[in-house]
């Protein structure tokens, strides 16, 4: 059946939450109402990545890239584009985009290379045929019928693929351990318990291309001798769960999962296990405990799961992004994959680019891309023309990267050497208005809240450090507190049981190193240079400038501003909650923040 047009509607979570579903339904209705439902096929796709501009609609074959599309635009898209063949210029991201020219040309996409996200925004993730049409399950077929287990591992080894969960452990070695472990029962596990604040790489992959994960897990099963896989995914990812469940059902129906896959002697099946959203369950031993129905608490490694994992059996556990790379490596070869990236780190990395950036969204870049390229070329620079201060990678386990390191080519080693880490791919950009103590406090609050409570250094040390940061942010800190922060950070790093506790002090280590001045300003001068720490801000009204318009008094939520009309007002400091609304409201620069 040939359609004249294909209307791809982003059904990723970000677009869905900005009325993407209503838009889809409206388009469906309009196609019918205007009698062209046989001429254009509506396709729900995964994330296009350009979330800043969502909801996104792309129309094929013209490649018209429409952004910020609402349900109200459905009628026009159908009547103009589908019926009359005229682009709706107003909705184009690039108003100059000629029909038929690829949206890859727009700056946001130019420096990206999509391997993991190859199918996101391209196929309808709800139909296995679309995945198959893009060479889906061909890698599995190759592994079953043309490759030995050793050849698969050799190919992975040559590709240089390293685990994308954060630490960058070579995937081939991990698989090799499990393959060589003697056990009648082995397991394959997909870690989809993405939990870094602001990160949604794995979620988008599961939503936009669920079969890539299933295919890769089956490849691993064939390679190491496992017949059962589990995907551990947080229950608060309902769309990803729905798509994965749907994909599993379709793969079973097509004989791509289940007994005797593709008529071979290889059987493999996958089940979902839903996590309750505890961050620590992203730690692999805690994750496995949770699958087993136990409290999600880490246990010491070694032994590593590859040798002794789920129910004590050898288990390959990789995260979503690692899995999504595998079919491509098998199909296109290790030489192709290893040609991308840096000396130590091959392939691409998906980042969730957020913060004070113009183009926030989901991006995939070759390893070795610099932070400057990501922030300025892809991200379009800092929002509102403000000054870049730092970028945070690695989420709560990472550190800040300052201006001087913007040209560092990103890989596992380079990020570590500058006190941050790759992590799973969260990247938060901060500008001059962000206070480093406030940011560090935010991450510590997160890890303190998410600590499982098992080991003493993390359970107690985290809270003690948070409380010290809180003191400093209120101007009550001492220079000795800075030393205590560092002492505790060292003890937590060295004596915590799992990665959560070992890396939780990283934000402290990093910010005290690069932004010690800012700490000292809070401690010695009782000021917050970024003007973020509420306890250290005072708003005052400059008598000379105040004309008594009463705008500030009207907006003040605690009614702490008083004064007669047309006469200078005053702020009652005892009632002021430092919300800053008066400051924003005043048109006469009569309110001072300091």
């Amino acid at each position: 059946m040939a359609y004249k047009n294909y209307i791809l509607v982003c059904a990723g979570t970000a677009c869905e939450s900005s009325k993407g579903i209503a838009l889809y339904e409206e388009l469906e209705k309009e196609l019918k109402a205007q009698g062209v439902e046989t001429e254009a096929q509506l396709v729900k796709t995964g994330c296009f990545g350009f979330c800043e501009q969502g909801p996104i609609v792309k129309i094929l074959p013209d490649e018209s890239f429409y952004v910020k599309v609402g349900p109200e635009h459905a009628k026009q898209i159908v009547s103009e584009h589908i019926i009359k063949g005229r682009q709706v210029t107003d909705l184009l991201y690039d108003k100059e985009q000629a029909a038929g020219s690829s949206h890859d040309n727009i700056a946001f996409y130019q420096k990206q290379q999509r391997i993991v996200l190859r199918n996101c925004g391209v196929i309808n993730p709800e139909y296995i045929d679309e995945y198959i049409a893009r060479d889906g399950y061909a890698a599995l077929e190759k592994v079953i019928f043309e490759m030995s287990a050793d050849e698969v591992i050799a190919e992975l080894k040559a590709s240089g693929l390293r685990g994308r969960g954060g630490a960058g452990f070579p995937t081939a070695i991990k698989w090799g351990f499990t393959k060589n472990a003697e056990s009648a029962q082995k397991y394959i596990v997909c870690n989809a318990d993405e939990g870094d604040p602001g990160a949604y790489m794995d979620r988008s992959t599961c939503e936009g291309d669920p079969h890539s994960v299933l295919e890769a897990m089956a490849i691993a099963g064939r390679t190491v001798g496992a017949n059962q896989g589990f995907i551990y995914i947080r229950a608060e990812y309902p769309l990803a769960i729905e798509r994965l469940e749907n994909a599993i059902a379709q793969a079973r129906e097509y004989g791509l999962l289940g007994d005797n896959i593709l008529g071979s002697d290889f059987s493999f099946d996958v089940e979902l296990r839903l996590g309750a959203g505890a961050f620590v369950c992203g730690e692999e031993t805690a994750l496995l405990a949770s699958i087993e129905g136990k409290r999600g608490m880490p246990i010491p490694r070694p032994p590593f799961p590859a040798v002794k994992g789920l129910w004590g059996k050898p288990t390959v556990i990789n995260n979503v992004e690692t899995w999504a790379n595998i079919p491509m490596i098998i199909l296109k070869g290790s030489a192709w994959f290893s040609s991308i990236g840096t000396a130590t780190t091959k392939g691409t990395k998906v980042f969730a680019l957020t913060g004070k950036i113009n183009n926030s969204g989901l991006i995939e870049v070759p390893m070795g891309t610099t932070l400057r390229e990501i922030i300025y070329d892809i991200g379009g620079g800092i929002r509102g023309g403000k000054k870049f201060k730092a970028a945070q990678t690695g989420g709560p386990s990472g550190g800040v990267i300052t201006e001087e390191f913007l040209d560092t080519p990103i890989d596992y080693e380079s990020l570590q050497s500058i006190g941050s880490m790759m992590g799973s791919g969260g990247m938060i950009v901060m500008d001059e208005d962000d206070c480093m103590i406030d940011v560090t406090k935010f991450y510590l609050e997160f890890t303190v809240d998410e600590s499982c409570g098992k080991c003493a250094p993390c359970r107690i040390g985290g809270r003690t450090n948070y409380n010290i940061l809180d003191k400093i942010s209120k101007g009550q800190g001492t220079v000795e507190d800075l030393d205590t922060l560092k002492t505790l950070a060292q003890a937590m790093r060295k004596a915590s049981l799992c990665g959560l506790g070992q890396t939780a002090p990283n934000p402290i280590m990093s910010t005290t190193h690069y932004f010690e001045d800012e700490y000292l300003a809070h401690i010695n001068d009782h000021t917050c240079p970024a003007g973020k720490c509420k306890k250290l801000i005072t708003y005052t009204i400059v008598e000379d400038k105040c004309i008594g318009c009463t705008a500030c008094a009207r907006v003040c939520p605690t009614s702490c501003i008083s004064g007669e009309v047309k006469k200078p007002h005053t702020i009652d400091q005892s009632k002021c909650i430092k919300c800053g609304q008066c400051f924003e409201k005043c048109k006469f620069d009569a309110i001072l923040k300091g």
């Binding site: 499982c452 409570g453 003493a456 359970r459 505790l488 049981l497």
Partner: protein
């Protein structure tokens, strides 16, 4: 077994594969400090005190949970390691109540020892102690989560060793708190009061409900006639509280200490253990010869009884109706002895000294425990409580003279004393069952197949052609597999795998009970066990039916085993209990 060659602090070490760094270090005289680790349990690896450096590893590793590998170079002590340990210790202390003087574990607290070793004089961190009201609901053990260091031992003991699943961690992060699962009270939980959590707790977060004041008060009252009994396992363990070696047999000193404390009569639970054998042994012979429900299962362990009533009440018909020796002695003291001594039952006060916290629960577990109209036993104290009473009374335990028990309910055979170890009840029963069935005595009374720390022991005993298959389980978590085999055979209509099963809730039996002096390990359990068997061996009579005072009590008072009077005083019944009361 392959050996691993490695180096610890430059000292070559050769240990079997699988040995942890902690144990390997011990082998070359290096003591690595620890808090959460206990040799009974899989390493939980929580505290972070035992961290060491391993060449090539970017992070410090936990010595308790890391197997030493070939060629591994370990540094257990250098300024950096010690500094990290100190910081972790200071962190733990920053959340621990600073009230050692009022703590029952002062002097036997593993955290206190660490603080002393590290010379902690002040805590450099903000101190945060969460105030939590202790849970006293069971009357046997007290949970005081405020003092908990989250080492995980109690939870592992309760779940893995005992299979009870009463205790769990609630909450997470620094809100993590020890509590009964589902946050009910301990009494509403499946807790069987075995007290193994208390026995394993390194600090004062779980302890026995101290009832010594009740006993002191009774002794003070002139109208009360106070008698006391001591359980078999107490005599080989209480010495540890007075710096004696584990297993030191202190029976005579105990009798004399109890008299000095002020008891009017000093009896021995070993006597009523002999009585139990006559009742329970006769019951068993009756079941075997008359076709009763088999296997018969022992009932002298109250924690096991509680477990059975909650988790395995399909076995109620299999349970021996004989009361435990503690209860039998109480019942005889308040009837037979009261008559002989001319004391009114209402004025009798019976205290018992037990290695056990569940015995506190047993004294009032149901109406059958008050066979004279008054509680058979008024108060059960643990070994630890008695040790404190002895100290309070100013008694120099180690220089006490050896005395004898009061004879009426105090003389015992070797069979009575081995009730204190796993397999002992079975062995004692077999010694008399042989006689009851054959009317002959054994040439060799030792049943070696009943002895040892193996979790489940099985044997077939040939009693002159009658084959008796037995099973012995100790450490509560081992019992379910035994019960399941019985259930399976029953479902399939096959013959029961065993005729007689002995169960004790604690590892090693009562010598490893939840009320014994702290610090029990298998090494200590073995020493205590050896003490018990030495008591057996030096006994003039090795079989319960040869105890002349047992013969006398039947002649004087009870008639014969399983008589109507014996049933009234010495037997009980069982009923289902809900696992969760709420």
């Amino acid at each position: 077994m392959s050996m691993i060659e490695a180096e610890i602090n430059g000292i070559p070490v050769s240990v079997p594969a699988g040995t942890t760094i902690l144990d390997a270090a011990k082998a070359v005289g290096v003591k690595i400090p620890k808090l959460c680790y206990h040799s009974d349990l899989d390493a939980w690896a929580a505290c972070g005190i035992c961290v060491v450096k391993v060449e090539g590893s970017p992070k410090m590793l936990r010595a308790c949970a890391t197997a030493i590998g070939p060629g591994m170079k370990v540094i257990t002590h250098d300024p950096e390691v010690v500094e990290v340990r100190r910081t972790v210790l200071e962190l733990i202390l920053s959340t621990h109540p600073n009230d050692c003087l009022k703590c029952g574990r002062s002097g036997s607290c593993e955290l206190q020892d660490l603080a002393a070793d590290f010379g902690i004089r002040e805590i450099p961190f903000e101190e945060r102690v969460e105030r939590i009201t202790p849970d006293t609901s069971t009357g046997s053990i007290v949970l005081n989560p405020e003092k908990c260091v989250k080492c995980g031992r109690c939870v592992l003991v309760c779940q893995e060793m005992q299979g009870v699943y009463a205790l769990e961690f609630i909450g997470r992060g620094d809100g993590t708190r020890l509590a009964p699962a589902a946050d009910v009270t301990l009494n509403e939980s499946p807790c069987i009061k075995c007290g193994q959590c208390a026995a394993h707790c390194p600090v004062g977060a779980i302890y026995e409900n101290d009832q010594t004041r009740i006993v002191w008060d009774a002794i003070k009252k002139s109208e009360k006639h106070c008698v006391v009994q001591i359980a078999p396992a107490v005599r080989v363990a209480i010495g540890e509280a007075f710096d004696l070696e584990p297993g030191a047999l202190t029976t005579g000193k105990l009798y004399s200490a109890l008299r000095r404390i002020g008891f009017d009569a000093v009896f021995d639970t070993n006597f009523s253990a002999d009585l139990t054998i006559l009742e329970e042994g006769s019951e068993f012979v009756k079941r075997v010869t008359e076709g009763g429900v088999l296997p018969q299962i022992t009932s002298c362990c109250p924690a096991w009884t509680d477990y059975m009533e909650k988790y395995a009440n399909d076995f109620i018909p299999n349970f021996s109706t004989a009361k435990s020796p503690q209860q039998m002695l109480g019942a005889m003291a308040k009837s037979y002895y009261a008559e002989k001594a001319g004391v009114e039952t209402k004025d009798m006060f019976v205290a018992s000294i037990m290695p056990c916290t569940a015995k506190k629960f047993e004294v009032s577990r149901d109406d059958n425990m008050s066979s004279t109209g008054f509680q058979d036993v008024d108060v059960a104290l643990t070994t630890r409580e008695l040790a404190r009473m002895i100290k309070q009374a100013g008694i120099d335990f180690n220089s006490l003279p050896e005395e004898e028990a009061d004879h009426l309910l105090g003389d015992y055979s070797g069979a009575g004393t081995i009730f204190g170890v796993t397999g002992g009840v079975m062995e004692a029963a077999l010694r008399s069952a042989y006689y009851l069935i054959t009317k002959e005595d054994l040439a060799d009374v030792n049943f070696m197949e009943c002895r040892g720390l193996e979790g489940v022991k099985e044997a077939e005993i040939d009693i002159k052609g009658t084959k008796i298959r037995i099973a012995i389980a100790h450490q509560m978590g081992n019992i379910e597999a035994v019960l399941n085999r019985v259930r399976e055979a029953k479902e399939k209509g096959e013959e029961t795998p065993w005729h007689f099963i002995e169960v004790m809730a604690c590892r090693g039996g009562c010598i490893g009970g939840g009320g014994q002096p702290h610090g029990a390990t298998d090494e200590i359990r073995k020493a205590r066990t050896a003490g018990i068997y030495s008591d057996d061996e030096k006994s003039v009579q090795r079989c319960s039916h040869h105890n002349p005072m047992i013969t006398k009590i039947y002649e004087d008072y009870l008639g014969e085993p399983l008589s109507h009077k014996a049933h009234e005083l010495l037997h009980t019944g069982y009923h289902e209990r809900k696992i969760y009361k709420k």
